[in-house]
């Protein structure tokens, strides 16, 4: 809380804008049933399909005559939740294995790092696409596919932080005092990585939402009729003359991602101005 207060005191417009956009979307996700004028799935009116934006249907209607506005609002629930879950799984798995690899070192470290290099020698989207397609296209499989790709980033970061501080005197001191390995790792080493992790998580949240919508766009994420931004854009590809079908869901993805990126950038500048160089 103190950190947040300090951050808001600073002259950092992009961070504030990002925070505003992101919390606005979280509110929208929570309040979607209240805010939506129509039901996103059941209010179909085939006679009124492909209607341009009007005072009744703010964002127009889609190929089944559903209200695009309501669908965009509802879709925020799926996208933001899936993004969060992906980042959380990657974080937990990555910190666990990265911390272990850095702390134990030797063969364990080597094997772990070669394995993560293998995963990272693929462009992320292609690997996610292959895994999601192979597991069978649905929400949980696409989240799993993304987590499989993402955890090595966290593992590598944790490992490098653990290695850089495990030789410090205070760690040796606590070992001399008889602390167990779990305690050293959990109390002395990992807390040092919290700052970098928070930055990485926020930046990744935007990326995860982008990739999730990408997978859905390709038909590998969420399945119809559940509203999802990427899937809605792909509906717009089939009906490219009806610009409103794809434009509004695309804008939604864009704003969420930009919100997360602004927050991440702001946090990074605040926590460590030097990190700008290493993460870029």
């Amino acid at each position: 809380m103190k950190v947040l207060k300090e951050l808001l005191m600073q002259k950092n417009i992009m961070f504030k804008v990002g925070l505003f956009i992101f919390f606005a979307w979280i509110l929208i996700a929570i309040l979607a049933p209240v805010l939506s004028p129509f039901d996103p799935i059941n209010d179909q009116d085939i006679v009124r399909k492909f209607e341009a934006p009007s005072s009744e249907h703010w964002f127009g209607t889609d190929e089944l005559g559903r209200d695009v506005f309501s669908r965009v609002l509802y879709a925020s629930r799926v996208s933001i939740t899936c993004g969060l879950i992906t980042v959380l799984i990657s974080l937990v798995v990555g910190v666990f294995f990265g911390g272990l690899a850095g702390y134990i070192g030797g063969v364990v470290d080597d094997v772990m790092m070669r394995f993560s290099e293998m995963i990272q020698s693929f462009p992320p989207l292609i690997l996610a696409m292959v895994i999601a397609a192979a597991l069978g296209p649905n929400i949980s499989n696409s989240v799993l596919a993304m987590a499989i790709i993402w955890w090595p980033n966290y593992a590598r970061l944790t490992r490098s932080i653990v290695i850089s501080i495990k030789g410090n005197d205070y760690v040796t001191a606590s070992r001399v005092l008889g602390a167990t390995h779990t305690r050293i790792l959990g109390k002395e080493l990992l807390p040092n990585s919290v700052g970098s992790m928070v930055v990485m998580c926020t930046l990744d949240l935007g990326n995860a939402i982008l990739m999730f919508s990408g997978l859905s766009f390709l038909g590998l994420g969420i399945q119809p009729p559940v509203p999802e931004w990427g899937a809605m854009v792909s509906e717009g590809v089939r009906n490219s003359a009806k610009w409103w079908i794809s434009t509004f869901p695309g804008l939604a993805i864009f704003t969420v991602a930009i919100g997360a990126n602004f927050i991440g950038d702001g946090l990074r500048d605040y926590l460590d101005p030097k990190m700008r160089r290493t993460i870029g």
Partner: protein, 355 residues
């Protein structure tokens, strides 16, 4: 004399260091590619999906004989490790990546057919990204905290936040349908041209054939997809160039140059930019990796007959031989490009030593 001898000795040591480094990296690359092939093979074989169900019609699926024949034909009834050994033997000995389940054609032929399209597209995308990214980055750094800096930064952040499939769709609708400035779909106008033979890189082919109408047509088809594809990387490069240049501009040797009364433009272009651009090379490598992923969307929307489309079709049709082939090709490209970038990095910046 002594210093000359010293220089030639250090030079020889540098070259031998470089060679040793390259050989070590090549060995690591072989290990990595072996791992990648196992990984892809396992993913595509240990999953609950049933390739027979994905590739046979419903009536054929109801006939157990057809399903059995199908599984026998693709070796789906053998243990996985045996399938893997057969697969690797075919690649290394017979240069045969197998046959695509979806199209029934040899995968190597298909990759050879699709790869040049992707290569051409990614080279142009990288060119656009680097030229625009460095220019914007320099402008942004020179006018730090002025309105133009804010605009450029906003554009570069949006570059990394834009869903590329949506951006591609917007750009295509705007320029191809509404304004009708650029042609859309495919790499050339199939009604006017039928390029045959050559390298498959149509820009080079058109120049070597002196076929200027084809060249302009190919470039017109290439421009929009390359712009969309390069946009993300452009954002990365802009941000990196800006922050590096700002850092370098505050260093002592720049202050010295300025205090000598040197013109500001000369300070920036001759003294600062060279050093500021070194880390940009690394970012370009990262950007290239993203490019390979973004390819899937851009090629799908612009109907570009390249590797991205091929990978997508292979994945959704659970065409396992094609998935393995295309993943190996992409991983190989990625690893080679990264090795190239690491070497380039050291050649350009002599302070970096190979270890």
């Amino acid at each position: 004399m002594l210093s000359l001898q010293y220089q030639s000795e250090t030079f020889r040591k540098d070259v031998s260091d470089l060679l040793r480094y390259i050989i070590r990296r090549l060995c690591l690359m072989v290990v990595l590619l072996f791992g990648v092939s196992v990984l892809v093979f396992l993913i595509s074989h240990f999953v609950p999906s049933n390739p027979a169900a994905a590739n046979l019609s419903q009536t054929a699926l109801n006939d157990p004989e057809i399903v059995a024949a199908y599984e026998a034909k693709w070796g789906l009834d053998k243990p996985v490790w045996e399938q893997y050994i057969i697969y690797m033997k075919n690649i290394l000995v017979n240069h045969d990546l197998g046959t695509s389940i979806r199209t029934g054609r040899p995968i190597l032929d298909e990759l050879k057919q699709y790869f040049p399209a992707t290569l051409e597209l990614s080279i142009f995308a990288m060119l656009i990204a680097i030229v625009l990214g460095v220019t914007f980055g320099v402008i942004s750094a020179i006018f730090q905290n002025k309105p133009i800096d804010h605009i450029v930064r906003a554009v570069s952040v949006s570059g990394v936040s834009l869903p590329s499939f949506w951006f591609a769709l917007l750009v295509m609708n705007l320029f191809c349908s509404v304004m009708n400035i650029f042609p859309s779909g495919n790499r050339y106008d199939a009604r006017l041209f039928a390029p045959n033979g050559g390298t498959g890189l149509y820009v080079i082919d058109a120049i070597s054939w002196n076929n200027w109408p084809l060249l302009s047509d190919v470039l017109a088809h290439l421009f929009l997809p390359a712009l969309v594809l390069g946009f993300f990387t452009m954002g990365l490069i802009t941000r990196q160039t800006r922050s590096n240049l700002l850092e370098v501009m505050s260093s002592d040797y720049i202050r010295t140059a300025r205090s000598k009364g040197m013109k500001e433009s000369r300070v920036v272009w001759r003294h600062a930019l060279g050093n500021a651009l070194v880390p940009v090379i690394t970012v370009s490598g990262m950007g290239f990796c993203n490019l390979l992923g973004g390819m899937v969307f851009v090629e799908k929307i612009f109907s570009w007959p390249g590797i991205g489309q091929y990978a997508y079709l292979a994945a959704v049709n659970l065409d396992f031989p094609a998935i393995c082939g295309v993943s190996l090709l992409i991983a190989l490209t990625y690893v080679v490009v990264n090795l190239f970038i690491d070497i380039l990095y050291g050649v350009i910046d002599p302070r970096i030593r190979y270890q």
